[in-house]
Symmetry: C3
Subunit: 277 residues, 3 copies
Amino acid sequence: MTQKEWLEQIGGILEKVRSKKPLVHHITNYVTVNDCANITLAIGASPIMADDIGEAADITAISSALVLNIGTLNERTIESMLVAGKQANKTGIPVVFDPVGAGASELRNRTTRRILEEVKISVLRGNLSEIRFVAGLDSRTKGVDASEEDSRGGLQAARDTAQAVSKRLDCVTAVTGAVDIVTDGTRTLYLKNGVPALSGVTGTGCMCSSLVGSFCGATENFLSAAAGGILCMSIAGELAAERAKELGSGSFRVALVDAVSRMSAEILEERAKLDEA
Amino acid sequence: MTQKEWLEQIGGILEKVRSKKPLVHHITNYVTVNDCANITLAIGASPIMADDIGEAADITAISSALVLNIGTLNERTIESMLVAGKQANKTGIPVVFDPVGAGASELRNRTTRRILEEVKISVLRGNLSEIRFVAGLDSRTKGVDASEEDSRGGLQAARDTAQAVSKRLDCVTAVTGAVDIVTDGTRTLYLKNGVPALSGVTGTGCMCSSLVGSFCGATENFLSAAAGGILCMSIAGELAAERAKELGSGSFRVALVDAVSRMSAEILEERAKLDEA
Amino acid sequence: MTQKEWLEQIGGILEKVRSKKPLVHHITNYVTVNDCANITLAIGASPIMADDIGEAADITAISSALVLNIGTLNERTIESMLVAGKQANKTGIPVVFDPVGAGASELRNRTTRRILEEVKISVLRGNLSEIRFVAGLDSRTKGVDASEEDSRGGLQAARDTAQAVSKRLDCVTAVTGAVDIVTDGTRTLYLKNGVPALSGVTGTGCMCSSLVGSFCGATENFLSAAAGGILCMSIAGELAAERAKELGSGSFRVALVDAVSRMSAEILEERAKLDEA
C-alpha cells in the first residue's frame, strides 16, 4: 500500500471513532488516568475506568475495547486486569496492553508475563526497553523511560525485536520512540512524527495507548488502528509545540489535548510521515 | 418565588461559600479527583479527600459536607463511604451522593442500594439513567453517560421520576442533562444553561457534585444549594465555550475552572435560566 | 553566606537537576499525583510512582530520591512507604517526607510517628500545623491547611519549632507559609517569595515536596536543596500570577507549570528573597 492509501485507511478509522464513540474500558495507573480519560474523549471515544474485580468483567462486557496499563499496578488491580482481559477475549473485543516499566521491577516483569500468558493481546505498545523485556532480551531500563543502552542497536534491531514479538504473540507491536515502529510481524510501518517536548509531560505514552484503544474500538484492522493512535499523538505533539512550546510544559500539555480534539483525516493526511518498511 | 428571588437566594449562598470556606470531604473516584479538588477551591470551599476506613469518620466529623461518588468504587472504599456517610448523619452534615454508572454493573447497583439504605442523603445528583436506576425503573445505561433510550420519555417523565425519588428518599434530586431538573419532591426547578462541550471533558458531572457539596456546606437550603452548584457549572461551561471552544477541549477545560473561580452572584443573576415548574 | 552565595549554590543544584535528571520515586496521594509527576518533569527530573509493597523497595533501589506524602494514605500504602523508606536509608538516597494533614486524624498522626520512628528523613516539609504536630505541640489543624491559631505565635515561634524538630530528627525542616522557613537546626533561611493564588489550586504543597525531592536527587546539600525546591515553586507562583491571575485559577495553574519548566539559575538570582536568620 502507498502512504496515501495507508493514511486514507487510518483517516477512515478516525471518522468511525468519531461516529461510533466506542466505549473504551481502562484499567490503568492513577498518575495519568485523568489524561487518558480526556484524550479518549478528545479523539471522540468514550472512556470508562473500573478496576474492582467485582465489576471488571461486567464493564468489559459492555465495552468495545480494553486498555491494560501497569503503570501503578498493585495486587488488587493485577487480578482485575486478568479478569477483564479474559472477558475481553471471550466477548471478542481488542485488548491493548501497555507494559509500563517492564524490566524495572520483578513485580512488573512477573505481571507482564502473566498477562501475556493468560490474555490474548491485540496491540502491545511500549518503549523499546519495555518491548525488549517482552522479547526476552536483556533490558536496561531504569524506571519508566527507555534506556539509552537499549537504543544502541538502532532502528533495524528495534524492528527485528518488534517483529519477533508480534510473531510470537500473534499481535500488533508498537514501539514508540524517536521513530515509531508498528508491525503485525509481516507488514511494518515506520512513523516519523513527534517532538521531544512530548517527553516533558507525563502520560504521553499512556495517552497514546488510550488513542490506540479508541481506534481499536472502531475497527478490526489493528495494524492501522495502532498506527492511527500513534500518529494522532505525535502529530498533536507537533501542533502543540508550534503553538505553545515557548510558553512551557503546562501550556504544551493543554495544546496537546486541544490538537487531539481537533484531529481530522485531513490533518493526518497532510502531516503524517509514514513509510512501509 | 420568582426567578429573581431564587437567584438572589442562590447568589447569597455562593457568597457564604466564599466567606465560610466549608471543608468538603470527598470519597470519590481517582479519575477526576484532582478536578474535584480544584473546582472546590475555585468556588471558594476547601476540599479534603480521605478514603481509608481508619480515618473516614474522623475527617467527616471535622467537615461541613460529604460528597460520595462511586465512579471508581472498590471493596475498600465502599466500606469507607458507608462509615463516612453514617458519621455525616450523626454529625448532622449534608451528604451529596453521585451514583456514577448506576445501572452499568451489578456492583454499582448493589452499592447504590446499600448507600441509600444505610445513609440519609441530602442531595442525589446524577444523569437520567442513574436516577432512573435509583427510581427502580429499567435503566439502559451503557457506561457512565445517560443512554438515549432513557431520555425518550422527555422532560415531564424525567421530572416525575425525580420527584418520586425525592419523595421516597426525602432528599433533593438533581438530574443533569440538556435541561437540568432539581426537585425536593414538591418544588421543582428547571435549569437551562450549559453547552455540549461540557461532555467533551471528563469529570464535569463529578465537579458538579463537588460544587453542590460546596454549596451544601454553607446552607441548610439544599434545593437552592443543588441548583446553585449546577448553575455555576453550566454557566461556567457557557463562558468557557465563548472563550476557548475553538481552541479545543484542553483549553475549554482550563477556561471552565477559570470561570468557576470568577463566578459571582452578579454573573448568576445575569445568565441563569431558571424556571419553577 | 551572603544571599548571593546561597543563590549561586541553589542555581548550581538546579543545573545539576537538569543535567542529571534524577529518578524521583514518589509514594504520594492520588489527588495531586499527576501534578507531582508533571512538576518533577518540568524541573528536569524524572518521576516514578510505585506503591505496591511488591515493588516499592525495588523501585526505590534504582532511584535518586524518595518522596513520601500521606495526603491520601491507606493501610496498603502506609506499609509500602515504610518499606520504601527503609530501602532508601539502606541505599543511601534522601527521603523527603510531607506529613499532609498530620493533626487532622488519628491515622495520620500514628502514621507520621511511625514513619519518623522507622525511617531516617532528610527533609521534612509541611505547613505550620503539620510541623507543630511533629514537634509534639498542640496542633489545631482542621483538614490539610494550616490553622490560623497555629500561626499566632509569629515567625519567631515557627522558627523555634522548626529548629527543634530539625535537631531532634537530624533533618532539614521546611515550614511553608506566607514566609517559608528552612532550617537544618543550626542555619536557618527565610524565603519570602510566593503569592496567595498558590493556595487557590490543589497540590502546590505536594508539588513543592516533589521539587524538593528533585533537588535532593542531585546534591547532598539538603538545606540548599529544600530552599531551592521551595523557591522554584514560589517564584513560579509569582510569575504565573503576573501572567494569568486575572484569567482565573485554571490558567494560573497552567502558567505555574510553565514557569517551573522555564526556571533557571538566572531567574532564581533575580527574584529570590532569601535571608539567613
